[in-house]
């Protein structure tokens, strides 16, 4: 039994503790906003925050999240539903096409802005290059991050 907090809620999970956090949030907790794209830390679709740090949940065993705070895309907006500045910017720039990579993109962008309130192009490139968007929305993602930075 592994105990952790997910989006502010205490959870007890009874599963092989080697199971990646990705599959735990998706299949044990039903939080399917965190996506599977590669399973090998190569695409960023599965990005979540553990104690505020962005991690690739597909290669993070549940045991590593024991006793920690996990935030998924479902927990990024305020409890009253108010969107995060990054989410607002995503709407403003109509960033998503299919949207499948976007949970991970948003999680990486939120983490970047927390570290660096005013990122340069190079900062964005290096923070976001682990997140693949096969629909090719990189130019919009970059613009949206800058908008969110201004709003933040």
């Amino acid at each position: 039994m592994v105990q952790l907090t997910v989006n502010g809620k205490a959870q007890k999970i009874d599963i092989d503790p080697e199971t990646p956090v990705l599959w735990v949030v998706r299949e044990q907790l039903g939080l399917v906003g965190t996506k599977f794209g590669c399973g090998a830390s190569l695409c960023g679709a599965c990005t979540v925050h553990i104690d505020g740090e962005p991690v690739r949940s597909c290669v993070t065993p549940l045991s590593e999240a024991e006793g920690k705070d996990v935030t998924t895309i479902e927990g990024i907006a305020a409890p009253d539903g108010t969107l995060h500045a990054v989410q607002e910017a995503w709407i403003k720039h109509q960033v998503p096409q299919c949207g499948y990579c976007q949970s991970g993109q948003i999680m990486s962008a939120v983490a970047l802005l927390k570290e660096n309130a005013n990122p340069s192009d190079e900062d964005i490139d290096s923070a976001m290059s682990g997140n693949v968007c096969r629909c090719g929305m990189y130019t919009r993602i970059k613009a949206a991050i800058k908008t969110a930075a201004k709003g933040a």
Binding site: E27, Q87, C98, Y100, D125, I141
Partner: protein, 779 residues
């Protein structure tokens, strides 16, 4: 007088999984009776509006708006309007676009719309979301459906007032009589439901200036879900009591399981069962399952672990000798020999031999994988002989009929719910993964979700065809082109479905036999090629390699003639004219559209070329190591020109200071989304051109995940991307695919301008994703 309840309700997307369906029903309980317009979209042909069949049916008294798959539009008594979207949403914002077309003619407030995703059903007509067709083939009938409904509602109001319909107008859900009295659509929806659907010739569509939503930017319907992690994709579907499966598929096509030891797999906690898959039949894979061994478990991770623990010995099967390296050499050798003529103008052989200057070039493009961000996934649940399926499919009707056929049940026993698609690019048109889920769920006796891992997706796809091309061109002493020969050799998509040893006329019409050059002697020839892996279509299909070759070759000819490539391109396209390829012996399918409505117009082609050049400030001085390249092509009835500026550093690293595209897609329903598609399509093309290469050894694909199947990432994306949409009142053209074809040649031409290095083989980059700088300066 406004009676709408729904102003408070945000537009809601209903994806196809069960819980959401229930939610939507609740949304309409107590909504009262109303009009449900049933529309047969018919066995679709081209742009013709289909007959609006089936008299409008009143919504039954129990107020359940979900009255069956046939309903395209329904209006409840409280004014809420439900539109059923029959097309698959994979990022092209088709939900929003379909709503724009229908709601404009219906003339209802945008916020009153409620969208439901259609299941797969032939009664909707063509649901195959492929070929960039959702707007170009359905623009008239979606609008006609909305306009017919509006007319019925107006007629119902006129009847209630006892006046002639000509005295009534309608706007934003309210019908107004000339005296000033009003009724809402909801007020009259029940009465309207009893009227006959008007004959099409009595229905007037809006004029362009009256359009409220068409041609305007409406925010994506899915975006509010997507940014909260809420939309339901195929991989997200959950049904009670379900099990999870992954499959070990034969490494080479039509390979078989020789021996299996599943002891260790069954010992993995969570693994419940190991199932030998039914083997595919015949010699053509079609949409069949691939065979192999499935591991069933209580969660996906356990299934993946279980699969790793399987010990399988494979019988390699009939394609075990396929080695893509040798095969590529064979293709190239074939391309250097005469093939079957498919386009003949003048006498190419004679003109080439008498040319002042003759150049020739060989082009090669490797197999590619669509690799949509969401790998294929499907869930199936049997009840008796009926199966319910949830899948990220581009083609729910093909999924339905293929499952029915392979499982031996009638089509009507198979219900296919369409989820959101995390990208498609042609991969999800092929329902092999849906068949796997149906077979396994029946075998296991419980609902089963099959998830493809990324390795599965890359190793067992329907690959974009590999190709070799040989081009020859002749110039006279003034540098005018007198002759062009284009030979192309590639295994055909047809080989996936039956015997085929040569590229089809359809594939040739994508970039080869539709060459618009005004050159007196031209020929296109095709050579023989067999296939050894599944060949499938990928965004813009054969245009990818054909346009890479001939738009690169245009720049090579310009170089040989000592002319500016853009001016040269304008010249060889020649005077303004409508091209009739039948004069050159070509049966030209024109993307399934009529040539009357969608002629091949060189004026429009040159206009986008000019525009892209202007946007890029063509002819300007660029910094050292930079270069500008340009290419233009008409595909899916749209004209797109793209200019690319590359910067190449001393180590051969490439970056993109800017990309400029001009698109003429006729009438555009959704401008910002069109731009987004051109951006995405262009980057998809560049990604494939720079890095894309699927190879095979002994019949098995060598690549497995994103490190060896390389795709474009943030740091490699352009710093500036500008798209211009040409003003046009021509009928709508496709926008999902046309951005892709010009990308690769514009890039190769830019690299040539920057370095003097002419790259003729895709992928363009070599070791470490860099240009081979030892070749710089080699033409």
């Amino acid at each position: 007088m406004f009676m709408h309840l729904a102003q408070t309700a945000k537009p809601k997307i209903e994806t196809a999984n069960k819980p959401l369906l229930n939610l939507s029903r609740r949304g309409f309980v107590g909504a009262g009776t109303g009009l449900a317009l049933a529309v047969t979209l018919g066995a679709c042909s081209q742009n013709k509006p289909e007959t609006l069949a089936q008299a409008a049916a009143p919504i039954p008294d129990n107020s359940n708006i979900d009255i069956g798959p046939l309903v395209l539009i329904s209006i409840a008594a409280d004014g809420r309007t439900q539109i059923t979207n029959p097309r698959s949403e994979m990022g092209q914002q088709v939900i929003t676009t379909v709503a724009q077309m229908i709601a404009d003619e219906l003339d209802v407030p945008w916020d009153d719309l409620f969208i439901k995703q259609a299941v797969g059903d032939k009664k909707y007509g063509d649901q195959n979301t492929d070929g960039s067709t959702s707007v170009r083939n359905h623009f008239d009938r979606f609008r006609m459906a909305g306009a017919s409904m509006r007319q019925m509602l107006t007629q119902a109001a006129a009847n209630e007032w006892g006046v002639d319909i000509s005295e009534c107008t309608s706007e934003l859900g309210v019908i107004t009589h000339s005296s000033g009295k009003t009724l809402t659509y909801g007020d009259v929806s029940e009465a309207a439901g009893k009227l006959d659907v008007p004959a099409e010739d009595t229905v007037t569509l809006k004029t362009r200036s009256q359009w409220r939503y068409i041609g305007k930017d409406k925010p994506s319907y899915t975006i509010s879900d997507v940014i909260r992690g809420k939309g339901t994709f195929g991989i997200d579907v959950r049904v009670p009591d379900m099990l999870y499966a992954v499959i070990a598929r034969p490494p080479a096509l039509f390979g078989k399981v020789k021996s299996l030891d599943d002891t260790a797999a069954l010992a993995v906690p969570g693994v419940t069962q190991v199932v030998k898959m039914k083997e595919p039949e015949g010699e053509a894979p079609g949409f069949q399952q691939l065979g192999g061994v499935a591991v069933i478990a209580t969660d996906t991770w356990a299934a993946i672990q279980g699969r790793e623990a399987l010990k399988i010995e494979w019988d390699a099967g009939p394609h075990k000798n396929y080695n893509s390296k040798t095969y590529a050499q064979e293709l190239m050798a074939t391309a250097r020999q005469p093939g079957e003529n498919k386009f003949k103008r003048g006498d190419v052989t004679k003109a080439l031999s008498s040319a002042e200057t003759m150049i020739s070039a060989d082009y090669y493009a490797a197999h590619l994988s669509q690799s949509p961000m969401e790998p294929p996934a499907a869930t199936a649940q049997w009840t008796g002989d009926n199966v319910e399926i949830w899948a990220c499919t581009q083609n729910p009707q093909a999924a339905q009929s293929t499952v029915a056929q392979i499982c031996g049940v009638p089509d009507e026993n198979v219900t296919v719910h369409v989820t959101l698609l995390g990208g498609g690019f042609g991969r999800k048109s092929k329902p092999d993964f849906v068949v796997e889920a149906a077979l396994l769920a029946r075998e296991v006796g419980k609902p089963v979700k099959v998830t493809w891992t990324r390795e599965d997706d890359i190793k067992h796809g329907y690959f974009h065809s590999v190709s070799a091309q040989h081009m020859k061109g002749g110039l006279d002493k003034d540098g005018n082109v007198t002759a062009v020969l284009h030979r192309t050799v590639f295994p055909s998509i047809n080989s996936t479905f039956g015997p085929s040893d040569q590229g089809s006329d359809f594939e040739l019409s994508l970039g080869a036999t539709d060459n618009p050059w005004n050159v007196p002697n031209m020929a296109v020839e095709v050579g023989k090629a067999n296939s050894h892996i599944r060949i499938g279509w990928l965004r813009s299909v054969a245009n990818v390699y054909h346009v890479f070759a001939n738009q690169s070759f245009a720049a090579e000819l310009a170089h040989a003639a000592g002319k500016d490539p853009k001016a040269f391109l304008m010249d060889i396209i020649g005077p303004d004219r409508i091209i009739d390829f039948s004069k050159d012996g070509v049966t030209y399918p024109n993307y399934g559209a009529s040539l009357d409505e969608h002629p091949v117009d060189t004026k429009r082609l040159k206009a986008v070329l000019d525009k892209a050049a202007t946007m890029a400030k063509w002819g300007r001085d660029v910094p050292k190591g930079h270069g500008l390249g340009i290419a233009v092509h008409r595909s899916f009835l749209a004209y797109v020109a793209t200019a690319i500026e590359v910067a190449v550093d001393a180590d051969g690293n490439i970056s993109f200071p800017g990309i400029w595209s001009a698109v003429d897609a006729g009438t555009v329903v959704s401008p910002d989304n069109t731009k987004s598609q051109i951006e995405g399509g262009t980057l998809f093309g560049i990604s494939n051109a720079l890095y894309g290469e699927i190879t095979a050894t002994n019949g098995a694909v060598d690549q497995s995940n994103f490190p060896d199947w390389r795709v474009m990432r943030m740091a490699e994306a352009p710093h500036v991307f500008e798209t211009h949409i040409m003003e046009s009142e021509a009928p709508p053209a496709g926008v999902g695919e046309p951005g892709t074809p010009p990308a690769a040649p514009a890039l190769a031409n830019a690299i040539f301008a920057a370095t003097g290095q002419r790259l003729r083989a895709m992928p363009l980059l070599g070791q470490n994703d860099r240009l081979d700088m030892s070749k710089v300066g080699e033409g």
